[in-house]
Symmetry: D3
Subunit: 305 residues, 6 copies
């Protein structure tokens, strides 16, 4: 029998996956996007990928709930971090991210991206939705459809506005889940463009099962991207993030929802805004790592022949 490897041994890759370059035989690629120039409040999520990788070392292979074992289904690898040339220019970095994910797409790799702040979702969507607008499932406390702010259109409050304007996502097939807080007036674009906006209170009122149906009805069988901002959860569950809002989801609820998305046509996913320096212990990183594992499971499952 193989030596039992302790969780803290060896180089911290996601789930102790092999590292790999971008190449055709990778089916699903974990990618770090260590970028946080887009934050309006507390920076630090550039350290998210390293922290999520470290916490993921405790995750083994089999999902006890849905019995999916991703590594058995397809080729999963840790592709490392997006190699930025520009560290101080949000627009140029946005282009670099986009170019990187175009290459990912060309190699038919389904990306599982760890942020970084939420601004990274726009260039990813632009790359993946180049040919046809994608459906979007978006977990967040905030709609992130703010217009230009502080002199930029590419900050972490605007990715999905940008994605609509660049025709990368279809607002009619976009659902935003867990929304709350006091910035509502900034998100008018969500409503005018036709997105489905579900405040956290509505989600809890209808219950997770109906919510899952609602999501499925919105995205249908379209190619769908899943973007998960950890501040969708309550600060008790995810304190390590830059713009926390009270009254969010519990960990059990988001586990239930993500698992409920099995069967959808997912072409990529991200988990963003984990900010280790703001975490208490590593509970937010651990949560982020596990949610990414759950995403990996349903994506792997959908790749089953």
């Amino acid at each position: 029998m193989a030596r039992f490897q302790r969780a803290f041994e060896g180089p911290p890759t996601f789930m102790k996956l092999e590292t790999s370059d971008i190449q055709k035989d990778v089916d699903i690629g974990f990618i770090g996007v260590a970028f946080d120039l887009g934050v309006t409040n507390n920076p630090g999520s550039r350290h998210g990928p390293a922290s999520i990788r470290k916490s993921s070392m405790m995750i083994r292979d089999l999902n006890h709930y849905n019995k999916i074992e991703p590594k058995k289904i397809c080729n999963v690898a840790d592709l490392g971090d997006v190699p930025f040339e520009h560290h101080f220019d949000i627009e140029k970095a946005t282009n670099e991210i986009c170019d990187y994910f175009k290459k990912i797409k060309e190699h038919n790799i389904v990306p599982l991206a760890a942020g970084g702040d939420h601004s990274i979702s726009y260039p990813i969507l632009k790359a993946l939705g180049e040919e046809e607008p994608l459906a979007l499932i978006h977990f967040d406390a905030h709609c992130d459809t703010v217009a230009d702010l502080g002199g930029s259109a590419f900050h972490h409050g605007s990715p999905f506005r940008n994605a609509v304007l660049s025709n990368s996502i279809d607002p009619k097939s976009t659902i935003q889940i867990g929304i709350r807080g006091t910035a509502e007036p900034y998100w008018e674009f969500s409503y005018t463009s036709g997105m489905t906006v579900l405040h956290v209170e509505e989600c809890c009122e209808m219950g997770m099962k109906k919510l899952i149906e609602r999501i499925k009805n919105t995205v249908g069988e379209k190619k769908t991207y899943l973007s998960f901002d950890v501040d969708a959860l309550d600060p008790a569950f995810a304190p390590g993030t830059g713009t926390p809002e009270i009254g969010g989801f519990t960990s059990r609820e988001v586990l239930q929802i993500i698992r409920g998305l099995r069967g959808l046509n997912l072409v990529g996913a991200d988990l963003v805004e984990v900010s280790p320096a703001l975490d208490t212990g590593t509970i937010t990183s651990l949560l982020g790592a596990n949610l990414m594992f759950e995403m990996l499971c349903i994506i792997a499952d959908s790749l089953k022949p």
Copy 2:
């Protein structure tokens, strides 16, 4: 368009409100009561007002749930902190607080007070309930109707006993919500005086909607004061407090309850026992700030012509 102000810019007043002296044209005044001589266990809530102000900088104007925008309805200001002459004498400080809030009342300002420990509620109630006893909605893990203890009647375990004895609140119109823990024998006064005591288990068993009805039935249309001890919440949601008790409310539950109090005749409110040095990150301060915003909303709404 106005420059977008980042959350961390400028002097930390509550919700970036203008500061003001006590004057007639203020409708609702945020007031810090930086006092914690009354604690029996862990001191430190004297730093609560500063910490709540700081966390409140992230709160913008509109309540997404009930669409109330307090600043548009009435004149809200941050009145600063109660200026104590006596820093080491709980009885004299109690008198100073009472005098201060009498002045607030004379100017027809509805006070929104940030503690400080719970001992501050008695002098506030004494000032506001001078003419006729008020109804009281009290969130807490503890009844705070303990008799003299450690040589004083004015500690943080006794404010509502004192308020009954000084005829400032009507025990028949008083409801205590979220009660739990092992100090029950100390709170006999709650029962003998006729208060409604709801243990957290009963609250959860009946559900938040019935609980709201129950509260409304208890206070009716009377002039009502709302006193909120953060230890009503579970330590997972509010770790930064001096006498935490497990098994408390979640943030979503207390949001739901406070929002459900819309329409009541609120003449003042406080949120107490936030103790920053005991917090993990700033999640308790953030929670406190947001709950005070919710209180502000329903008070402002009740002032609408």
Copy 3:
């Protein structure tokens, strides 16, 4: 009237109980098992007993929910810590624990043990279940029925496998509650030996009331041991533990379950895996201390003549 003693005064024994040697007239004994050589990941639970004692200083005498007051029913004492001769040898230490609890049993003391890591439960069960296999109620994220690992059979992932193999517990009367995570393949023994394994999702789906019935049906009127690993709770509620898993119980749920076990024939209980250096503040220690108080209450109640 007696002087009011502040929570932080005096030597930190469990609930300010008197200390005692092992002697016949003690009915229930709190025992620290400051041992953590069995951990596979993060050590540190050797400091659990001291930390639980410290947090328990805030707990007074009466359970507000079920009105049980243990100290009035029977003789409860803090027996101190198991005095290890072997500090570096998991097998010898296991034997020392077993010998100690045999002595406890001989004196007819019902033990309430504070871990330490979960490896301590095996030697306790071996001592208590010497004459006939016990029923077992086991709260945990993990089944802890792993085979030899890293060269040992006595690590913290295997106590209940060992207990079955030594005939100390009856797997048919064993129920494991709150199970989750990605190590399922390691726990085949739970299934093959006939234990009832309830994943956290099933528990929540059926609700706490049905879960309590299910537990009662499993253990019946047998002599029963209760073993509680704090990682049964979600990391938001119990961050201070070495192998946390997201998606666990809330504090209210476990309170409800433990209280629901009143009336069972409990011959001993433990609470394990509190690791203070990993805690945020002391919320996990506080939780552990209170859960042990709840266990104490139902055990004391069962000893009532």
Copy 4:
């Protein structure tokens, strides 16, 4: 050979000393004074005694530097905490402390007191210096000779003014060491009463050896009390205190000074202002515990027949 006891085993008394009541055969008594109503800024030092005791568990018997082994020289015991009747009244509590230490003195016990805030030193000095004014060696960032402030004369900024006014210490035989910061104008009394005030810059300029001589010259062979505020050290060495001042002593320097006081006629000592909730890890408690051990050594040495 006796079983090797691990540092974290057993009840946390100072240095694992036996506990004792106040009785004649105790030569030196460790006493907790868990009181902090006198603080002007950050409270929390009421938890100092418990925290110092816990950290002291790592200290064994022999001082490697001066080869003193206190327990071999005389009877040392942990006498527990001053049992306060008054928890909320600084003046009454001050009297209680004084009464307690009078009893200590009557039993010929040399007290080694752990604060608590610095206000506790006045009632101790009043008790010990009742018959004749004592000499005083005072380590601190602040002179603590402030007049009435915030309505009280008994706060933690005034103990040594009070001690002079009550004729408990002789200002001419008083030396204050490590003084710095911006509150100098408040300490005029130190100068007018004739105390020797050494700012930290002067101390470092002259070097520790000359400083020790200077101290010895000031107190001579008089009965001398040693009062040590941990904020004498730099915040890098003692962060866990309520009014830290940058530019303080290092741990090596204070060790050297205290050891240099061997041979003096010490009748009592205290270490105050350790505030665990403000500490980083437990480095301030560990420092405090060790400095108290060093004090114990030179006091024990002076009791040698």
Copy 5:
């Protein structure tokens, strides 16, 4: 006598100074530059100004060492934070800072700027050194004369290269103090341009007194700017910063040096790279606040008629 104001009362301005707009009668202005887009490693110093202000609340008026009392000498005010229009563009923000400080200069205000990352020093120097190149005293672990990096010339590793190239400082009159670490090859510009580079080892070898002379010799009677990066100190003294390097100065040493600069012709100063989320407690903020007070003292002294 005026009411004694507790440190934590009132709005946190620097040293409780009055706030003011930019106007002629202000002599020295405290200015927050809440900007950190230029960091190469850990962001977060945008929160430095708020944190320094909060910690400065404990500082009173008189410098005990040199007896300077700035508020008595001249008009000192807290001017608030630089109001950025551009939050995501390092180059535009750099211009905004420069414009702001030109206005400061036009009003004859000596600026005391709190960063923010070190990139802010370049635009300040550009504003202040517009007419003639300034002398520079620069405390830091790093020379900060790196060339373009990560696509920008304006990051926090390059301010003094930029300042030389824009003719804002005179490299021959520039002295860099405390330099260490492994990035030496990046700082060739310091040497080729003729700056005096003093590694921390040389500084300590020569002693603080000679170091002060060396500084004075370098800057002479020129108009001089003082730029202080907290990472000049050892991480034990200043842990809360983004690029710490072991082996740095102690707090006593830097106090001695800054005090030794009395008499120089200082036209402005900054203290940068305090990053509260990385701090342990608030010791770095407290240090930063006090060092800024010391700078204020010597600047105020130089303005004495």
Copy 6:
């Protein structure tokens, strides 16, 4: 020019070194020994190697002080962690470590080992000193020459006793530096075997320069091993360790000493007892990483042809 790589990018190997298997062309190998079963007090140093690697990412190539650039001199690689088969048995794990380092020695690799607790030094020394006893330079607060304790001879308090008894080191050529604390009686073996024991007070009294000479005189030109326990430093500089002792070295002092060892015949080195869960921020890991870089420099220098 190559892309500037940010410190937090890429897999955390020591100093971003290439990873490698054990093979001849590696000259110096960084090795993690993630083992802490030998601790007597606080466990957790098993996480030291991962944490030191992470902190080392900020270290670039050139030592500014002695201008050594190890990667240019020889082939340095990160060899990963010792792959333990036995996770719960100190004696068997000790053998595994020994076997591993024998292989290292056979490949002529000079090992630079990151602990782990100090028990790892014995098996390393046993492997490296197999042919002839080595000289030893040992930095520590404790002599670590304790006899059997708690039932084992292989705990972290005994490595150098074991090394003498197995003839792996020559006690006459062994120097122990920084010794202090209250466990002196346990270390008699150091004296009886003829080791040179330098208490921290003696070291500081003689000064670092003489201390370096003293070290050189002790080890001469012998093959020498350097073992560095971080608790040699004061807790202000190295809080993240399991048995801290006040009064230790500063970071500048240990830098000076290690640099002073240039020219010795070093055949291996370790740095042990970094315990991340006890650290404040990451200052101890950063310190450990940098001290290992300094060791690497002098070892690389000694390999220069």
